[in-house]
């Protein structure tokens, strides 16, 4: 452990500023050296900064790392090689090009010689030199030649800070005073040392101006590191594959469960939120959000590219090095990527059957924009069953819940989530008490349910797991019984689910797999049961990273017919996939009018930032979402996510046609999380729904129908917004009877736990799915004398609005949430309200001898001719209408009407009724 001089240490610590610069390379750890000029204190300062970074990142991820250790996923120490840039007054110190000659060429290593304090033991120095020598051919082939060749000093950096999770994986300083330098720790494991040294060497290979985006910069290096490490003969001492995988599995490769983890919460500008690096953490550490997963997913994303096109990164880097200043934006990098693809493919290149632009759009880790708002990230993995037990489908399901602000800072949230487990027909089922409740601390919570075998008589089946939290929901789809069971504990290496497909009309689905490695081969007829499958493909040629084709067949009696195929670039070893119906990949086209609109998007956009979704400039976008917890609107840019099921107000200044790509599997119910109070929701898929297609559930309670939920789970009326024809910034709230895609609705959740609103598509093909298992007691009992009538106002522009009044023996005077309905947002425009202590949309009072409802019509143009219409909804009632403004009265019977001229912008009436 390095010891700093007592007087120097406080100064150094104070001067070491950990900055993840949003303007330059996000991965960079910047160390401000101030006025220091001599090498030694700068080196100490840098080491101290790296130690602090390493300790912080280890503490940030400690809970996650411990969880992975317990499940066997983490097999080695946590290391995080990084790039460190020295700055003076915030400006990077100019690299010493005199010793690091530009123009490409090889890298040569320079070691200190003993007794220099930075010298390595001779054996270890040999290991590092051999690593370069042996790995160089693979590095050059996979990553391309170094952008700038020359000498790189390698110094012994003792990274031991007495924390088994806090080990810096070495770091590269392009602008160290003595020339480019790698500072590297002494590992016990030669394999870990070699792999991490390859990582550091590739950082040194990079141009002095690396990629602006961490997802690209770190992703390319990590993908190449994996590829090089797995290239036979590229590491010293000829380690076995299992020795190599112990490091790569833990710290680099997320390919096995990439489909499950490919979620929008991954997207970000910097993998580690700036605030988390500067938060004081306890010795025990925290979960630190999802930065570990982000690093793994970035490397794995590009590993998928080179699984299909091994030369891609080398070509991509070469094109970039030629003019790095030209590729500082995502659109430019996407063009560059397609150029590189075309080059390596010798024609129009694709990845997994898609253009580079389409493919990048579907990888959430490559979303480099900050989107402010609540994020729920689910991370799932199967757990090996214990032989002879009742284990059937045991999964670890981890949730990370955090709120991102507009600077990319992430607040780690605390609370309780109630996971929802859906059978294949989307009926809800419950597990043990501890699996039905997820305690979230420091953003992190986990459950490990064992999905029972009895559900489908020991057949595999699909389980969709929703984790709603704070108005946001995330879903992962898992194959129960497909991986490892008590009766068959040997893990399968090919497992998956179907999403969006209809139940087979007769017969069953099956899948086949075709691979290209070793001259090609295939695995035929893997049975699919209940939308899930699991199989152990024993052919060794399936194992390597490569492009494979998975085909889905349906046999309706006349032999298998292919209904879908998917190209998948897999990593080494097992693969878990979710085969989504091809219509899941959807596009929504619409036009926003230059007025206030309450809208939603009926799919989960691949890129959620609304400026991109609508093509409206940052400074012009008016985008708002009601936050019932703060009783105020979250206004863009404080909120900048466009999510399926979440409604918003938007106000463009000109007509704005837009087109957005996203995910919306057909035949798949979608859950939308509601908070107590008013919620803005929208239909999450492109389907117009009746209320019978909407249901609700709360915490661990059974699902209830829309009708059952009214007045108990939600308010009695759901409202939509109708823009005003004259004033584009006003409109009318109107009771909604259907849910239309692209529009949004105000729903008021009455329960302290909020609720989950379940939208079920009209084409669903299941009987009873997502509906309550048993009908509940009707909440509204109509007595013999109950009546309700609509009081509708139509103005001179044919705009209408209405309120409802009535009487019932089963209510009381005052607000009865089971029956009455408050008026939703007062938004200007034409609106009628029943005035009690507050403005009501619907007011049903207890039956009595006499009753007077006071009615206020708002949003009128003074003098305009309007019509009041009285029409029965339940029962029939004649009333006397009294026009307060003109003092006229009229008896209104069934379907009666009354014409009046607006006295002003408002007009008052009284509806006088007798009792029974």
């Amino acid at each position: 452990m390095l010891r700093l001089d007592r007087t120097l240490r406080p100064l150094l610590v104070a001067a070491a500023v950990l900055v993840l610069s949003p303007l330059t390379l996000a991965t960079e750890l910047r160390v401000e050296v101030g006025g220091l000029r001599s090498m030694s204190p700068i080196r100490d300062l840098t080491d101290e900064a790296v130690r602090r970074f390493a300790r912080q990142t280890a503490l940030l991820g400690r809970r996650q790392l411990e969880a992975w250790s317990l499940t066997g996923r983490l097999k080695t120490e946590h290391t995080l090689p990084l790039r460190v840039v020295l700055t003076q007054n915030g400006v990077p110190i100019r690299p010493p090009f005199t010793v690091f000659a530009a123009g490409g060429g090889d890298i040569s290593l320079v070691f200190h010689t003993s007794p220099h304090p930075r010298a390595f033991p001779a054996v270890y120095q040999t290991l590092l030199q051999d690593t370069l020598t042996l790995a160089r051919p693979a590095m050059n082939a996979v990553f391309g030649s170094p952008a700038v060749g020359g000498n790189v000093t390698v110094s012994n950096y003792d990274a031991d800070i007495q924390d088994r999770y806090a080990v810096a994986g070495g770091y590269f300083i392009p602008n160290a005073l003595g020339g480019p330098e790698i500072r590297f720790p002494v590992y016990n494991s030669t394999v870990a040392a070699s792999i991490n040294f390859v990582h550091c060497l590739l950082l040194a290979y990079q141009n002095p101006e690396p990629y602006v985006f961490e997802a690209f910069n770190e992703g390319l290096v990590r993908a190449a590191t994996m590829r090089v490490a797995r290239t036979p003969g590229s590491l010293p001492s000829a380690p076995t594959q299992s020795e190599i995988e112990a490091t790569l599995d833990s710290l680099y490769d997320a390919s096995a469960f990439y489909d499950w983890s490919n979620q929008s919460a991954l997207g970000c500008e910097t993998f580690i939120a700036p605030n988390l690096l500067n938060t004081q953490l306890p010795p025990g550490g925290s979960t630190g959000g999802i930065y570990l997963l982000r690093y793994l997913m970035a490397g794995t994303a590009f590993a998928k590219v080179i699984a299909e096109h091994p030369a891609f990164i080398a070509v991509f880097n070469g094109l970039y090095y030629a003019d790095p200043g030209a590729f500082t934006t995502m659109p430019a990098l996407v063009v560059l990527g397609q150029t590189a693809l075309d080059t390596v493919a010798g024609g129009t290149g694709t990845i997994e059957g898609m253009s580079f632009a389409d493919w990048v759009e579907r990888q959430y880790i490559l979303d480099t924009e900050t989107t402010a708002g609540l994020k729920v990230m689910l991370n799932a993995f199967p757990i090996d069953a214990t032989g002879g037990t009742s284990d059937f489908g045991v999964f670890g399901i981890e949730a990370n819940v955090f709120r991102t602000d507009l600077d990319g800072n992430e607040s780690l949230l605390v609370g309780t989530a109630y996971p929802i487990y859906w059978r294949p027909d989307f009926s809800r089922f419950f597990m043990t008490a501890q699996d039905d409740r997820m305690s979230i601390t420091g953003a992190y919570g986990s459950v490990a349910p064992n999905f029972p075998a009895a559900t489908f008589g020991n057949q595999v089946y699909r389980v969709a797991v929703d984790v709603p939290f704070g108005g946001m929901n995330s879903r992962v789809v898992l194959p129960a019984g497909a991986y490892s069971t008590g009766s068959s504990p040997l893990p399968k290496n090919f497992i998956g689910t179907l999403t969006g497909f209809a139940p087979p009309s007769s017969g069953e689905y099956s899948v086949t797999v075709e691979w290209t490695f070793g001259g090609g081969g295939s695995q035929a007829t893997i049975p699919v049961r209940n939308f899930a499958f699991g199989f152990n493909i024993t052919n060794a040629n399936f194992v390597p990273a490569q492009a494979i084709t998975v085909r889905l067949f349906e046999d309706t009696g006349g032999g298998p017919v292919e209904v879908h195929s998917r190209r998948v670039n897999k990593g080494l070893g097992m693969l878990a996939i979710n085969l989504s119906h091809p219509d899941s990949d959807a596009t929504w086209n619409d036009t926003l009018q230059p007025r206030l609109e309450m809208r939603g998007v009926p799919l989960q956009p691949y890129r959620t930032r609304p400026t991109g979704v609508f093509g409206i400039a940052e400074g012009d976008l008016l985008f708002a979402h009601w936050n019932p917890t703060t009783v105020s609107y979250d206004l863009f840019p404080d909120i900048s996510q466009t999510m399926a099921g979440v409604g918003f107000f938007v106000r463009p200044s000109v007509a704005t046609p837009y087109s957005v790509n996203g995910y919306a599997p057909p035949r798949t119910p979608v859950s939308v999380s509601l908070l107590p109070g008013w919620n803005m929701v929208s239909v999450p898929f492109n389907d117009t729904l009746a209320t019978s297609n909407v249901s609700f559930t709360v915490a661990t309670e059974a699902v209830t129908t829309y009708a059952q939920s009214l007045g108990a789970t939600i308010g009695t009326t759901v409202f939509e917004f109708q823009p005003d024809g004259l004033n584009p910034d006003e409109g009318t709230m109107f009771p909604a009877t259907t849910f239309v895609p692209g529009m949004a609705y105000y729903v008021r959740a009455l329960r302290p736990d909020g609720a989950v609103m379940i939208f079920t598509p009209t084409v669903f093909s299941f009987v009873g799915g997502s509906q309550p298992l048993s009908p509940g007691t009707p909440l509204r009992v109509h007595g013999d004398n109950m009546w309700e009538s609509k009081l509708l106002i139509e103005n001179s522009r044919s705009k209408t609005t209405y309120a409802v009044v009535g009487q019932s023996r089963h209510t009381f005077r005052g607000f009865d949430p089971r029956i009455d309905s408050e008026l939703p947002p007062t938004v200007g425009g034409l609106q009628v309200a029943v005035m009690t202590e507050r403005a009501m949309f619907k007011d049903v009072n207890v039956l009595g001898d006499t009753e007077t409802f006071r009615v206020l019509v708002k949003g009128l143009v003074p003098g305009e001719r309007c019509v009041l219409k009285w029409s029965p909804l339940v029962g029939r009632k004649s009333v006397t209408l009294y026009d307060v403004e003109t003092r006229r009265t009229k008896r209104l019977s069934e379907d009666g009407s009354f014409v009046f001229n607006a006295a002003g912008s408002t007009h008052r009436f009284e509806v006088r009724v007798g009792g029974r």
């Binding site: 809970r63 500067n278 938060t279 004081q280 306890p282 010795p283 025990g284 550490g285 925290s286 507009l406 607040s411 780690l412 949230l413 605390v414 609370g415 305690s439 601390t441 420091g442 953003a443 206030l596 400074g619 012009d620 976008l621 008016l622 985008f623 708002a624 009601w626 019932p628 917890t629 703060t630 009783v631 609107y633 206004l635 863009f636 840019p637 404080d638 107000f649 106000r651 200044s653 109070g677 004033n727 910034d729 006003e730 105000y746 008021r748 607000f815 949430p817 408050e822 008026l823 939703p824 947002p825 007062t826 200007g828 309200a833 009690t836 202590e837 507050r838 403005a839 949309f841 912008s905």
Partner: protein, 286 residues
Amino acid sequence: MNRWWLLFLGLVLLGCGGGGGPAPVVAVLVGRVLWIESNAAPDPVASVTSGGNSTTTDVVDGSFQLDTALGATNATISWSDGGAPVVFTFTFPPASGVVDIGDVYIGPDTVTVHGTVIDSSSGLPVEGALVKLAGRSAITAANGEFNVLDVAYSNAAPAAFGDLIGEVSMVLYVTRQFSPPVNAVAGVVEVGTLQITPESAGDPPPLPANITGRILPLPAGAGALVELLDGPTVIRSTIADGAGEYRFWVGVGTYTVRATSGLLTGSESVTVTSQNVQQVVDVQIS
């Protein structure tokens, strides 16, 4: 009647049994202790003492379960990493059955959290509302003000305080949450005004807006035509309500708010630097 008497006698005898030793265990205290700086379980674990019994918090999630005495009203939580001990005492209603004290926070320092609760519809202060934060609570006074005392805080890492989620609840009102600001001045964190909405409120969310204000004086301001101009162009217009209030929602730019009521007019300039910044612009007409 005799059988009831025998049952009562039996219960009395059961209660008199023994003598000496610890108090009979008749209540269970459960909860979760969190360290304010990390929003996670304290490490090393904390000890929880109540009713003469003690336990330690779970190392992973900070939860605990402790048998306590009937009628116990507080729990003391102690923590130390070798330095000065951190001791917090939390109170709860007299214990019986299972008492869940929820998430309680401890930390190296404490602050008082001050604010005011008002009715979102009427703007009037709400008396008797329960304000909870980090395991502490307070009841609002007649003027709506509250002081939540001895809330865990860290002077060294104040940013973590902003991750707390407090709650305001009141009978016949919708419970709402809030997050406190991070900075303490002289040991006080000011959360400002917290609005809560009556359950029967008819006017929950108004329109989104980032420029609000009033047209004054009243009553002339009520019903005034209020226009927002971008240069010479009117881009928004509305009618001020009965209180003279208006609201606009616009993008970044410099605008003029112009009000007209009969022969009375007035205007004010306003610059929107970001759409999420709320500005209040009152306009005097004359």
